[in-house]
């Protein structure tokens, strides 16, 4: 095989993966998809590293990818924890909700593309609730950690 051509091909595949990840990270509003896109960028980088490692007949590239895997695992754990926390606070995975942390007096970003006659693609069937409704725990409701 032509090693230079191989490297060149891989670099361009890496660039494409990276660029696609970027587009996803910029445009998607769902936090989970944003993180998927970020992982995609990591994939692009990994492809690059492996290709360079082969080109130089060096293990360093693969080593770095192993560490990227490690860091990606850590990142995923923390990211999911943060996403869960944010979801718990806002009830939504929409990243735009958190634009309330913008600088004071700045205009908010408003969705312009929402069509007024928006309908979800699928209407999921609703099940009638059945069984006995559980009683709310009064103590839990009235509990206050701080007074």
């Amino acid at each position: 095989m032509d090693e230079s051509a191989l490297l060149e091909n891989y670099l361009i595949v890496g660039a494409l993966l990276f660029g696609t990840g970027l587009v996803g990270f910029f445009s998607r509003r769902n936090m989970i998809v944003m993180f998927l896109s970020a992982e995609m960028m990591l994939q692009g980088v990994s492809v690059n590293l492996v290709a360079w490692g082969r080109y130089h007949n060096d293990w360093g590239g693969q080593m770095l990818v192993i560490f990227i895997l490690t860091v990606a695992a850590c990142e995923a754990a923390i990211a999911l924890a943060v996403v869960l926390t944010l979801f718990h606070k806002s009830g939504s995975l929409d990243i735009a909700i958190w634009q309330r942390m913008r600088e004071e007096n700045q205009p908010a970003y408003v969705d312009r593309d929402v069509s007024p006659d928006y309908q979800p693609d699928h209407q999921w069937p609703k099940l009638t609730p059945s069984g006995i409704e559980p009683k709310p725990d009064l103590e839990e409701i009235t509990h206050r950690a701080h007074v």
């Binding site: 970027l22 910029f26 735009a96 700045q106």
Partner: protein, 689 residues
């Protein structure tokens, strides 16, 4: 086995310092109302050590080798600072070197300060006096200050003061002297403002500190001038360089620089002494300093610290000897201060202030003695310092005892006839008054008499001193009058007690009356004993500075031996003053009122303290205050405005960037990537050569 002089010399300051540290560290948490114990113990140790040192110094001094001028010894502790080749062109006066190596002197002199302590007659007598008075005052204060919130703080200050004062009198270098000169000033400031919640106390502390700054400024200038003139600041000869007050120079008076430089040095030194010893025109801080606790007034502002100026001038006698003009200034300043103090004390109604002005007046006497510049004058000045410490401490402590019983009231118009209520205080106060008025055989008689006699003797050479002689007698009369005025107003007449004293005003506790009794005994005997038995002057003149032959040559005999005439006159004057005071204040008050009306302008002048404060306000305080206000305005409006202007720029700049903070995470990432893209694109297309 008795420890040697070096050990004692180190021990005397080290003990109070240790006590200070112990009290400061453990006082608040552990010692509390026992805080006086370490300090009193340390002072006792110091006092015993000073007595042992006094005995040894005396022995050594009298057995001194004949070629030595006076007797001194010094202990080098460590080198504090050394700058080699600091002074490049030694003036003529440096050609003095030890052992006559006159031509082998290095071209450049080092600036070298060793932490050196010295022992000689002057130092040892000062040490003994300081530690003794401090010990008694500390014992007294353990009763007087009992229950005060700052009890431990008070005693740690007292320990610090005694440390500084003992270091001051045993330092053998002008820089060290200056350092501890400032340290006692600091202690004075801290103790005047001890009750800092009281605005008057805080203001008085500030005033004392600021007025002292003027004097210390002069002292510092004197130090600079001495360094450039003599190339050293040591008292003693060390490291091949003749000290300013060292054996080499003392043996050869030609080595002292005369003329204008000498006068300048002496006048600047005198300015420093004026600040510390409350002499005209810097005397105004001392009366206000009475805001401090009374034991402090007794220890610092009557017996010890204020005499530092007298000590310093005495120590520098050889310098003053080459400048007759400076001697006259010292004498004149001393006399004027004595007169001012005496006149103002006549009409004050605050018991402590009467005593404060009397202190100023007595310090004036001491300077008058020093200004006479004969051996008799200087030794009598020192002798007056010595005796004055005892009886003035006694008077202040007595006043404190009265205050203690009267619930803090010091206005003599509000109490009276306390002699039955406070018998011990009454008797001891009487002894103090007799000593202050100079009644034979009390301590004050011997020393004051010696000063007046020395002035009279000097008048044989210079007739101008005759005016000072008569003036000094008038002041002695005033002294007697105001002393007994205060005494009669406090202890005689109908018994009156202010309501602050409560229903059962009583004599002070034992811890206070015992020091009073001891001091009263001292006030009685200390003059006669040291004058007649021990020969105070004979001993003190063994100090190198005073053993200087020029001093001795000026005067043929030591004053104390004669002057029956002067003694008789001054006793007569004192008794007349007593009689006048008794006539005025023991009878009804109509005579006082009549006299007041007759001498209304004089009365107003005296009652207004000669309006020094007001004059200084107009001359110095107001202009400076106006200047300060103007500067404040410039700072606030102009400079702060400029700074604010500069400070307004970043927010404006930031406002430009503010729209970027949209809160959308994607936007941030996008901006970052655009940056990278532009960077890479630039790198690729950058024309390379």
């Amino acid at each position: 086995m008795t420890p040697g002089i070096p050990t004692l010399l180190i021990l005397i300051p080290a003990l109070p310092l240790t006590a200070t540290i112990v009290t400061a560290v453990f006082g608040r948490s552990a010692l509390k109302q026992n805080s006086h114990r370490p300090v009193v113990l340390a002072l006792l140790g110091s006092f015993v050590a000073s007595l042992m040192m006094l005995a040894q110094v005396r022995q050594e001094s009298e057995a001194k080798p004949s070629q030595m001028v006076g007797w001194e010894t010094s202990v080098d502790l460590w080198n504090w600072a050394e700058v080699p080749n600091a002074l490049n062109t030694p003036p003529a006066a440096h050609s003095a070197s030890v052992q006559g190596i006159e031509h082998g002197l290095p071209a450049a002199l080092p600036f070298r300060i060793d932490l050196t302590l010295r022992a000689d007659a002057l130092t040892s007598i000062m040490l003994a006096m300081v530690t003794f008075i401090s010990l008694l005052v500390a014992i007294y204060a353990s009763g007087y200050m009992h229950g005060d919130r700052g009890y431990w703080r008070f005693f740690s200050y007292i320990g610090l003061f005694v440390f500084s004062m003992t270091m001051l009198v045993s330092a053998s270098n002008f820089v060290l002297l200056y350092v501890f000169w400032e340290a006692v000033g600091l202690c004075s400031y801290l103790l005047i403002g001890f009750w800092y919640e009281k605005p008057e106390a805080a203001a008085a502390g500030k005033k004392a500190f600021l007025v002292n700054r003027i004097g210390d400024f002069g002292f510092a200038l004197a130090l600079f001038l001495m360094w450039t003139t003599y190339g050293t600041l040591n008292f003693h000869d060390a490291h091949g360089i003749a000290g300013i007050l060292g054996q080499t120079r003392l043996a050869d008076p030609e080595l002292y620089v005369g003329g204008g430089v000498a006068t300048a040095i002496c006048l600047l030194l005198m300015l420093g002494a004026c600040g510390k010893s409350a002499q005209f025109p810097l005397h105004i801080w001392l009366p206000d300093a009475m805001e401090g606790p009374t034991p402090v007034s007794a220890l610092i502002h009557a017996a010890t610290m204020v005499t530092a100026g007298v000590y310093m001038v005495t120590r520098c006698t050889p310098l003053f000897m080459v400048s007759p003009d400076a001697q006259h200034v010292v004498a004149l300043v001393g006399f004027v201060t004595a007169a001012i103090g005496g006149v103002i004390a006549m009409t004050q109604t605050d018991l402590k202030r009467v005593l404060a002005y009397s202190t100023i007046s007595q310090l004036g006497y001491m300077f008058l003695g020093l200004g006479v510049a004969t051996l008799g004058g200087i030794t009598s000045g020192m002798f007056h310092l010595f005796t004055h410490a005892f009886f003035k401490a006694l008077l202040f402590l007595g006043a404190g005892s009265v205050m203690h019983a009267m619930g803090g009231v010091v206005d003599m118009r509000r109490f009276g006839g306390l002699r039955r209520l406070m018998p011990t205080t009454h008797w001891t106060f009487l002894f103090g008054c007799l000593a202050l008025a100079g009644v034979i055989p009390f301590a004050g008689f011997w020393s004051k008499d010696a000063i007046i006699a020395a002035v009279q003797e000097r008048a044989h050479d210079e007739p101008e001193f005759l005016y000072l002689y008569w003036g000094a007698l008038v002041v002695a009369f005033l002294t007697s009058v105001y002393t007994f005025r205060a005494f009669f107003m406090t202890f005689y007449g109908s018994e009156r007690v202010p309501y602050e004293a409560g229903p059962n005003a009583h004599e002070s506790p034992t811890s206070m009356t015992v020091p009073l009794t001891i001091l009263a005994a001292c006030a009685l005997v200390v003059g006669a004993y040291f004058e007649r038995t021990e020969g105070f002057a004979e001993f003190i003149k063994l100090t190198p500075s005073l053993a200087y032959e020029v001093v001795n040559s000026k005067n043929v005999e030591i004053v104390s031996q004669s002057h029956t005439l002067v003694g008789a006159i001054s006793t007569l004057v004192a008794l007349t003053g007593m009689g006048l005071a008794a006539f005025l204040y023991l009878g009804d008050e109509s005579q006082v009122a009549l006299l007041t009306r007759l001498l209304m302008p004089l009365y107003l002048l005296s009652h207004g303290k000669l309006f020094f404060d007001q004059i200084y306000n107009v001359l110095f305080v107001w202009p400076l205050w106006t200047l300060a206000q103007a500067s404040y305005w410039i700072d606030r409006v102009l400079i702060d405005g400029l700074v604010d202007l500069v400070g307004r720029i970043p927010p404006k700049l930031a406002a430009l960037l503010r729209p970027l903070q949209t809160g959308m995470v994607q936007f941030y990432a996008l901006a970052m990537v655009w940056g990278v893209v532009i960077l890479i694109f630039t790198l690729l297309t950058w024309p390379t050569h």
